[in-house]
């Protein structure tokens, strides 16, 4: 049985949310036939040149049935939780009210599960759903449309400001489990929020998480969005973050990837007049991990500004992939776009592939990109060794320093600490957490 058939069979009997909505039913049917036809993307597609997901075709993941399973190992979940934050928790792709904290949200702000929202605010969702994903969506996106079980729905009315981060946790607990989520984050004009998406699982389970987040940032609104991908060592992850920015909107995305066996995140942003976009990212690929980050920025209107700063580290037998594309459309004069991608290759068996791209159709623009791939500076290692630090520690310290510059860009302090811990525990060997940290 082909994987597409497998999933069609499995989902036939499942009660997917929003069945009562004709527009959603139609979208799902279209997506299902597209997925049945094309399946998951193949490396023959230019955008998937460096990431081969054929392993997924051999493994067949099974969605959970019925109500959310109880989390047996609550400590793993507790570790990820940010103090002083609201949270929406999804266990195996299904909303768990028990683990979520939504008390005290400002009036008018909606933070709930998408399944719930489809019952209560179907019209609002119709206007947002599938609006930001790419037109020629690939197999994974079609897959999420066809089979999403749940996801977060966050809506801020005009002028509302969240003074604490809102955390969305997707947690996997079942072997060979499948979680398919669609998240929607919409900020009306002048609203401001910080949203943290966190992906993780228990132990060293193998599972697949496919999660698409659509973001709409209204006029002069500001969204700070973080994604921490900390899946298990055997986990498969596909994540898409697709944002639309209205006039003078500000969107800041920071992507931190440490986990998963095969993980890919796509981050797209469409900029309106005078909009700002800042994309940052860090990946640390150890073991046999394959971590892929793809960014695409569309400057569709004049005077937009975008800044991209990505750093990657590949050690052991891991492979890190980065592709960043900036498209300046014909009317987007006075665009100012910069992209920087720096990579550290720590082992003979590791690989880094980078593909920065500029596609420019307007003349009065400033666009630049830079990429470097290299190893740790031997002189810096020697300097530390001459001060009595042994070589593995010296290398770890320098690697940590390279990565920590990206960690420092994280504003919420509790997330900052969490990511730093994650980074330190992923570093190849020896403990560098000494008194200097």
């Amino acid at each position: 049985m082909s994987p597409a058939q497998h999933y069609v069979e499995h989902y036939r009997t499942l009660a997917l949310p929003g069945r009562h909505l004709p527009w959603l039913r139609r979208l799902r049917e279209e997506a299902q036939s597209r997925f049945s036809e094309a399946g998951f993307p193949s490396p023959r597609e230019e955008e998937w040149k460096y990431t081969n997901v054929s392993a997924l075709e051999k493994k067949l993941f099974v969605p959970s049935v019925g109500t959310p399973t109880a989390v047996a190992d609550t400590s793993a979940l507790a570790r990820l939780r940010l103090e002083d934050a609201w949270s929406l928790v999804f266990v195996d792709g299904i909303y768990s009210a028990e683990h979520s904290v939504t008390d005290g949200l400002p009036e008018g702000v909606i933070a709930t599960s998408l399944a719930n929202a489809l019952e209560r605010y179907p019209d609002r969702i119709e206007g947002l759903f599938n609006q930001a994903v790419p037109q020629d969506a690939h197999g994974f996106i079609a897959f999420t449309i066809a089979y999403f079980r749940d996801g977060a729905f966050v809506h801020l009315p005009p002028g509302k400001i969240l003074d604490k981060p809102l955390q969305v946790i997707h947690f996997s607990t079942r072997p060979d489990g499948l979680s398919v989520a669609r998240n929607l984050v919409a900020l009306e004009q002048n609203a401001e929020a910080t949203v943290v998406e966190t992906y993780a699982g228990t132990g060293d389970l193998s599972y697949l998480t496919a999660s698409v987040t659509e973001i709409s940032v209204g006029e002069n609104a500001g969204l700070e969005h973080y994604k921490l991908q900390s899946e298990t060592v055997k986990g498969y992850h596909f994540g898409g973050i697709y944002a639309r920015e209205a006039r003078s909107a500000r969107f800041r995305q920071h992507h931190l990837a440490f986990g998963g066996l095969l993980a890919r995140t796509e981050i797209h942003a469409h900029l309106g007049l005078g909009a700002e976009c800042e994309l940052d990212g860090l990946f640390l690929a150890t073991g046999r991990r394959h971590l892929d980050t793809q960014t695409l920025i569309h400057h569709r209107a004049p005077c937009g500004t975008s800044r991209e700063t990505y750093r990657g580290i590949a050690a052991d037998r891991a492979r890190g992939v980065f592709s960043g594309r900036i498209v300046v459309h014909p009317d987007a004069q006075k665009t100012d776009a910069e992209m920087s991608n720096r990579n550290l290759l720590l082992s003979e068996d590791a690989e880094i592939d980078s593909k920065p791209q500029l596609e420019i159709h307007a003349d009065d623009v400033k666009c630049a990109h830079g990429v470097t791939v290299g190893q740790l500076d031997p002189e810096a290692v020697f300097y530390l060794e001459s001060r009595g630090v042994d070589e593995p520690t010296a290398r770890n310290m320098l690697t940590f320093a390279f990565a920590n510059e990206m960690v420092e860009k994280i504003r919420p302090s509790s997330l900052n600490r969490l990511v730093q811990d994650e980074l330190l525990s992923s570093l190849p060997q020896s403990d560098i957490r000494k008194d200097w940290l």
Binding site: E351, D353, P356, L358, H361, D363, C367, H369, G370, V373
Partner: protein
């Protein structure tokens, strides 16, 4: 309209100077492509059996291939059956010296600004002139022969040096390498062959002028340069084609082989007919160029100035196989009106301590699309490999596009790879600065653009640097939007 805009307008409207047709009787095969056509080409050239087999094998492979679609260029389908694959000017006897060459032909070259006589007198450049598909005259043969250098047309090489051809032809670009290379391998009509023996520094710069003349013919030339141990050669190539409304296909293959300590410097000025302002006509320039640094400390350097062709699809590459070998790529690509260029390079690092440098300058005006596409691949064996890449684009006008698509693949931690790219237009400040010093807008722009391209021009041999600057003048001076 401002003064600068007028200047720009005037320059952009400048007509294609080499766009004339020489009326010559030609020996042309009817359009179409099948095994018989290939047999006919091979027979006309009186080739040995192994060449025919080689061509047929390439053709059969080509049939199974699909035309590549990944480049950032758009054009209608090409009817490969509507092209004539062989065209040669008719002469009673093959010319023994320049005096025997058809005067009309020589006049054509004079119009192009490469008078053979003058070249001969000026000393320094030996020209193997290719008129459509066969080589008409080769100068300086004796002087080169004294040094042991073989410089002749491909057809002659197949007749006189079959062993060398057998050994090296297709060893860098295999017949089935890609769609256009396979097509070329099947039907190539002529080209240049250069062999520099061990320890010889070629006494002069070698040059070939290619020119597509007959209508409805494709030009499929094949060039092979072999530099034996510790030798050096500088090779110059220039291209022009007459003006025609229909599109013509040009699919060439160039192979370079550098052995231990050898150095090959390959310079191109490509000025094929780019089509008119509306994008009618023009050459489809789909070229495969590749150099193989086989030996230790060998070096291959590509320098190209691409101003012509309706569509350019060209990636001169280096395989850095030998330890400590060096690859270089310097390029200026200019597109105007409706031209489309997708050009760049590939640097494949295999040997230890290999180095590569890529400097690419793209200039886009009118409604043109100009893309840099490059690959830097560092394999596991390439310890301490080093690459530096710089791609700059200049935009002139708000309807053109400039794109950068680099691919960087690194599998060796000791490698150091750097890539940077910028895109901008000529700044008003720079222009103002020059003009308030008394320069005309035209001169100011010319100066700035020349400055933008300087890093590449300085790599060109003298003879070409002058021509390149003149070409740039025709194609893109007055770079103010």
């Amino acid at each position: 309209m401002s003064a600068t805009a007028k200047t720009l307008d005037k320059l952009i409207k400048k007509e294609y100077a080499p766009g004339f047709v020489t009326d010559l009787e030609a020996d042309t095969l009817p359009p179409g492509l099948n095994e018989d056509v290939i047999r006919a080409i091979s027979a006309k050239k009186n080739e040995p059996e192994f060449m025919l087999e080689w061509r047929l094998e390439a053709f059969r492979h080509w049939l199974s291939m699909e035309e590549p679609k990944w480049a950032f260029v758009h054009y209608g389908p090409i009817d490969y059956q509507a092209i004539s694959y062989y065209s040669a000017p008719k002469t009673r006897e093959p010319p023994k010296s320049l005096d025997e060459v058809d005067p009309k032909l020589l006049e054509t070259y004079n119009k192009l600004g490469i008078p053979l006589y003058e070249q001969e007198r000026l000393a320094g450049v030996a020209i193997d002139a290719v008129f459509d598909s066969v080589s008409v005259a080769t100068t300086f043969k004796e002087k080169l022969a004294a040094a042991g250098v073989i410089f002749c047309s491909m057809s002659e090489a197949i007749q006189n040096h079959p062993d060398l051809v057998k050994q090296y032809l297709g060893s860098v670009v295999p017949p089935g390498d890609n769609f256009f290379a396979a097509l070329n391998s099947a039907v190539f009509s002529d080209g240049s062959f250069v062999y520099i023996p061990k320890g010889v520094r070629c006494p002069m710069e070698l040059s070939t002028y290619f020119r597509i003349n007959a209508a409805k013919t494709g030009q499929f030339e094949r060039t092979l340069i072999i530099a034996e141990e510790s030798s050096y050669v500088s090779y110059l190539e220039g291209c022009t084609a007459p003006m025609r409304d229909e599109n013509q296909l040009h699919a060439a293959v160039v192979e370079l082989v550098a052995l231990d300590n050898a150095e090959i410097k390959y310079s191109t000025v490509q000025n094929w007919y780019p089509g008119d302002e509306e994008g009618r006509g023009g050459i489809y320039n789909f070229v495969t160029k590749r150099g193989d640094c086989r030996g230790r400390k060998s070096k291959i350097s590509w320098t190209q100035v691409e101003t012509g062709s309706a569509i350019t699809w060209k990636y001169p590459s280096c395989i850095l196989r030998g330890d400590e070998s060096v690859g270089e790529f310097y390029s200026v690509a200019v597109t105007n009106h409706c031209q489309q260029a997708d050009t760049g390079t590939k640097m494949i690092h295999l040997g230890k301590n290999t180095k590569s440098t890529i400097i690419s300058k793209g200039i886009s005006a009118g409604r043109a699309q100009n893309s840099y596409r490059g690959l830097v691949k560092i394999l596991k064996s390439a310890e301490n490999a080093r690459n530096y890449t710089q791609c700059d684009s200049l935009l002139i006008g708000d309807r053109c596009g400039a794109h950068t698509f680099p691919y960087i693949e690194v599998k060796q931690p000791t490698a150091q790879v750097e890539h940077e790219a910028t895109t901008s237009k000529i700044s008003e400040d720079q222009l103002f600065f020059c003009m308030q010093r008394g320069l005309s807008a035209e001169d100011a722009v010319s100066m700035i653009v020349n400055g933008f391209c300087k890093q590449v021009f300085k790599e060109l041999p003298m003879e070409f640097a002058v021509e390149a600057q003149a070409l740039l003048g025709i194609s893109l001076e007055g770079s103010v939007g």
